[in-house]
């Protein structure tokens, strides 16, 4: 079998397989994807194209809150809770990679001082902050002049993933301290955060929220430190587009003044990236959606709807069960 020639052939086959695999992964763009949408009154025309074989989904929802710039907090000189700095660093880089897949690239890592500069204002439309530390730095919280929740009230979007939002604050280089009555200070009432870690198999009980969550492929079903969204003592003005455990949500969007707080129960990057890149808000309602398949080709379609409010968002995404490309278009 392995005469000299056969051995050379087998050696070449092994090397060739490795190099071919590498080339298909690294040396060329493996696949190309394209999407476009034109949003008009009551409808959106969209087009999709690819040189791959893939399923796509196009969906429209209203009251979008597009994120222009996402400021991601990371500062090793401040304490974290429920996560290590290394894990936080990894989670942030992975979330940014997921955002990139969804055509969202305007992310900036900021430290505690830079975060204070942003929060100090004035609020710039489209600014959003992502916190994954489980602890707020004292530069923006429990601070006489700079308060991240005032910035939210003024219109900012705060995305929070990790330990209970607002429970802990830290000074530079010191251990975090507990904040009393923080839930009332942020949400107006106590016991709205699940101080536990649960997994749920039940999607949102709200029909619109369920439909929107499914259309957006929200898959995070871990309810750790999630917000109370249904049942007695639940928050109002909230949209739960993930899963629920005893009325607590795996992914909740809550209006606060002119702004919004999004709390994800657990550090799950794909749902977080979907929420940020799509600009879904606590007032959003699914307007229309459709699916299709492409085999090295292009397709067009129309999404239509009746009544709607605010900005319309059209997200086109490709790939199932995992997204390989997505892009969101917003009405002016």
């Amino acid at each position: 079998m392995f005469k000299v020639n056969a051995a050379v052939i087998v050696t070449a086959l092994i090397f060739g397989t490795i190099i071919l695999g590498q080339s298909l992964i690294y040396l060329s763009v493996p696949n190309n994807y394209g999407a476009d949408a034109e949003i008009k009154a009551g409808e959106a025309e969209y087009s999709v194209s690819t040189d791959s074989s893939i399923r796509y989904t196009a969906l429209a929802f209203d009251n979008a809150r597009p994120v222009n710039t996402l400021y991601v907090y990371y500062d090793e000189s401040y304490a974290v809770f429920g996560i290590t700095h290394a894990q936080q660093n990894r989670f942030i880089s992975q979330t940014i990679a997921e955002l990139k897949i969804r055509s969202f690239t305007d992310t900036k890592i900021v430290n505690a001082a830079e975060l204070a500069d942003i929060v100090k204002g004035p609020y710039e439309p489209g600014d959003a902050i992502l916190m994954t530390s489980g602890v707020l730095p004292d530069t923006v919280y429990q601070n006489a002049t700079v308060d991240i929740f005032k910035w939210v009230t003024a219109g900012g979007s705060l995305y929070w993933a990790g330990y209970a939002i607002g429970e802990k604050v830290a000074e530079k280089g010191k251990e975090p301290k507990n904040v009393s009555n923080y839930q009332t200070a942020i949400f107006g009432k106590e016991n709205v955060i699940l101080m536990d870690q649960k997994i749920s198999s039940q999607r949102s009980s709200n029909t619109n929220a369920k439909a929107l969550g499914e259309a957006l492929a929200i898959s995070n079903n871990a309810v750790a430190y999630g917000l109370k969204v249904s049942g007695s003592g639940a928050l109002t003005g909230v949209l739960s587009i993930g899963y629920e455990y005893n009325g607590y949500a795996s992914l909740a969007l809550v209006g606060k003044g002119s702004g919004m707080i999004c709390v994800t129960g657990s550090l799950e990057r794909t749902s977080l990236a979907q929420v940020i890149s799509s600009g879904v808000s606590e007032k959003s309602k699914l307007l229309d959606s459709e699916n299709g398949s492409l085999v090295r080709g292009a397709a067009t379609g129309t999404l239509d709807w009746g009544a709607s409010g605010g900005k319309i968002a059209v997200q086109i995404r490709m790939g199932t069960p995992n997204i390989v490309y997505a892009r969101t278009f917003f009405s002016p």
């Binding site: 087998v10 071919l20 763009v29 074989s53 399923r55 992975q94 790939g319 995992n322 390989v324």
Partner: protein, 451 residues
């Protein structure tokens, strides 16, 4: 029309028993591949391929935890699936989310049947190539068609081999295939190929790495008294291995993800160091077992070195010492209830021993094959029916979930049916390698007596 000569060769081949064994083995695989699938591993192949398609490479977005070789296969397979128009890889089914609460890695992300079948095809090809190499090695050494066919049959009809490639969709067989290429190439003095195939085997799944002492000893035995040739051959084999390793790792060196590619290893070591007894009973056993195995590594390496030394020192009149060394080394590596498909790397060496030297080695082979299969089925549970339930009318997801929960339910003294089966399978997995070592001792003793 085929040329007359080729036609004759094919006709002759089809009349031989190996053809019938091949057809039976292939038919079993092709029937099982669409029907049964372990979703957890398959979901990860879908994730990796889709990360590749998204332009994130193998390690740009978390999801692929192994060394790069299998990832490169997935890169090629991504291209092939695009070519064949496989558009739908899978979906998340909310009704199946409760499965994720069960022990041992289940998922509500259910891959489609076309995706499952496509993913298993290269693994079935690797099964075939490995089987043919086993056949060829036995045939060359014994010149006995019957023994070679027997060896092929043991491999190709082995339930663990079939389960691993055609149900689980796990790539350990690719590592076995490269390992057998390395062994055969070394026997045929094709040293560049031996070195490069050995590196490819180790960088697919690390276990063949334990054979390094045996391979060096093989060269030393073959060139006793000829130090220069021995050193030259070791050098050439090493060159092949180094070049292959460098080529495999070029992308990761360039993009700084070499450490990410070792996540499988570091995660297993991490589990072992921080033994976790807070989860399920099996998690605790597995974690504690991993700790024990980690701390036994110096002893395992010492044993592997000892077997190689014995091989060098012993006379090799019967031509069996290399295979005894290979079998003993891998048997020592797996004297613990390993994840079933890991044991695939031990099976060829037991087959060599059973087919060429001592039929009794069929016993540890059978014990390991059946034991690991029981463990595999128990671990995978009824979730292996999930793709059929999700995408056909033969079953519904609720039934599969109920069956999986039933398996997780208590059998006796609070022990679940799943854990009971796993204990039986795990025990057989430990007994099998121990039996192999016992038979090696008996065989050597009897052989010495006969001499």
């Amino acid at each position: 029309m085929l040329p007359e000569g080729t036609k004759q060769v094919l006709t002759d081949f089809m009349k031989r028993p190996i053809f019938m064994i091949f057809m039976i083995g292939l038919a079993i695989r092709l029937i099982l591949a669409p029907l049964l699938t372990y979703g957890f591993d398959m979901m990860h192949w879908a994730l990796t391929i889709q990360h590749i398609q998204a332009g994130a490479g193998l390690y740009g977005v978390d999801g692929y935890w192994y060394t790069p070789v299998w990832g490169y296969f997935l890169g090629i397979w991504s291209f092939v699936m695009n070519l064949f128009g496989v558009v739908d890889y899978g979906h998340v089914f909310d009704e199946a989310l409760v499965l994720e609460l069960l022990p041992l890695g289940h998922t509500a992300t259910v891959t489609t049947i076309p995706f499952n079948v496509m993913m298993k095809l290269p693994l079935i090809a690797a099964d075939i190539i490995a089987g043919l190499l086993i056949y060829r090695i036995i045939k060359e050494i014994t010149k006995d068609e019957k023994k070679a066919t027997y060896g092929f049959a043991l491999w190709f009809l082995c339930p663990l081999v079939i389960f691993s490639s055609s149900i689980q969709g796990m790539f350990d067989v690719v590592s076995v295939m490269f390992m057998l290429v390395a062994v055969y190439a070394l026997m045929k003095r094709q040293d560049i190929l031996a070195g490069s195939a050995f590196a490819a085997a180790v960088l697919t799944k690390m276990f063949p790495g334990y054979l390094i002492f045996a391979l060096i000893a093989y060269l030393a035995v073959n060139h006793k008294g000829d130090r220069e040739t021995f050193l030259r051959r070791v050098g050439v084999v090493s060159l092949g291995a180094v070049v292959m390793t460098a080529i495999i790792y070029i992308p990761q060196i360039l993009d700084g993800t070499v450490m990410d590619s070792l996540a499988f290893l570091s995660a297993r070591v991490g589990t072992a160091i921080a033994a976790d007894t807070s989860g399920s009973t099996w998690d605790a056993i597995a974690s504690s077992g991993m700790s024990l195995i980690l701390f036994l590594q110096p002893l395992i390496f010492a044993a592997a070195a000892f077997f190689a030394y014995r091989m060098y020192k012993n006379d090799n009149i019967r031509g069996d010492q290399f295979f005894i060394c290979l079998a003993a080394t891998m048997a020592v590596v797996f004297v613990w209830p390993a994840v079933p498909q890991y044991l695939l790397v031990l099976l060829p060496f037991l087959i060599f021993m059973a087919a060429m030297f001592d039929k009794r080695f069929f016993i540890p082979f059978a014990v390991i094959s059946i034991g690991a299969l029981i463990l595999d089925i128990a671990m995978v549970n009824f979730s292996m029916l999930m793709s059929v339930a999700a995408y056909t009318n033969l079953l519904d997801i609720g039934t599969v979930v109920s069956l999986a929960e039933w398996m997780d339910g208590p059998l006796i003294f609070g022990i679940s049916k799943q854990l009971a089966l796993m204990t039986i399978g795990g025990a057989a997995e430990v007994i099998g390698p121990l039996l192999a070592l016992l038979f090696i001792i008996l065989y050597e003793k009897e052989a010495r007596h006969n001499v």
